[in-house]
Symmetry: C2
């Protein structure tokens, strides 16, 4: 699968086959690609907690509320993405430029993780609606949780939807 | 090129072949993949200004200072990534959860853009060291500039370097 196919194929999956586990080999490949992602000053200001079985169920519950993310409890794997402190160089740059590189870095590694999952035939959904305090308690984490990623095989009837995106003319300007 | 190869091959390129232009077809493919990136509540809170020729030179200059990013003026294309306002749904979620989804979204689309560039045989560097005010003036932008991406062909002697990353044991914990 080339990257254009990945970008076209990846979609937020909200219907998982709860009976089908994620192969360890595939999970390793997914985490390895996430590990190789670039980050500001190579700070890698993130940490992944891979949750399965009972922990996955508890994490899913901490991403629900107000009718959100009910499907998460069907995903066999949930990956909790925490934000780690800056390294010194990135911290100085961020202060001088008033830029939050850590959130951008978390976005980049999340894109790598979910792109590799797509390439491996798996499905994901990136959840931002979460109970940080409860997730930290469940996973025994010191630092803030920014995202949770559901990972698993989609149900067979979960078809590819047409993506709704801004037109390229709205998204892009060209200056010469 | 599969995604594992993309993740391994992509590296911050700081030595561009200034005489070699980026083909329009490849640029289109790169922007199209960036366009397809996921974002919180599909808000797509970003805009790309593709800069060439004299504008590219001016943008490169606005990313220099304190010895940083001198190489940027050799890249034939510079893409200025601005942050656009939230859509309403993402804005409500962000307020309720105290999470900055826009920066994460910008990271995701930047990862898509640079991954597709790698797949197309091009090289990139993501610059966070930039003069927001000056870039807004040059590109006539209302909203904040978060990143600038240099894009072009690497010089022939720009070899693949070994990536220094956290060990997987430091990056990942597993809970069952």
């Amino acid at each position: 699968m080339n990257f254009t196919e990945i970008a076209n194929t990846r979609q937020s999956c909200r219907a998982y086959d709860s009976g089908r586990e994620v192969e360890q080999e595939k999970l390793n490949a997914i985490l390895e690609s996430a590990r190789l992602a670039p980050s500001a000053c190579n700070g890698q200001p993130y940490h992944f907690t891979v949750c399965k079985n009972e922990t996955a169920k508890a994490v899913a519950k901490a991403c629900m509320g107000m009718g959100m993310n009910k499907f998460a409890s069907d995903a066999p794997v949930l990956i909790v993405v925490s934000e780690m402190p800056y390294n010194k160089t990135a911290s100085i740059g961020a202060k001088l430029k008033g830029n939050d590189y850590r959130s951008i870095d978390i976005g980049i590694t999340t894109a790598y993780l979910t792109a590799e999952a797509t390439a491996q035939g798996l499905s994901t959904c990136i959840l931002g609606w979460l109970d940080d305090k409860e997730l930290r308690r469940i996973c025994n984490l010191e630092h803030p949780v920014r995202l949770v990623i559901t990972l698993g095989y989609a149900k067979e009837d979960d078809k590819l939807r047409t993506k709704k995106r801004k037109d390229i003319s709205e998204l892009v300007d060209v200056l010469e």
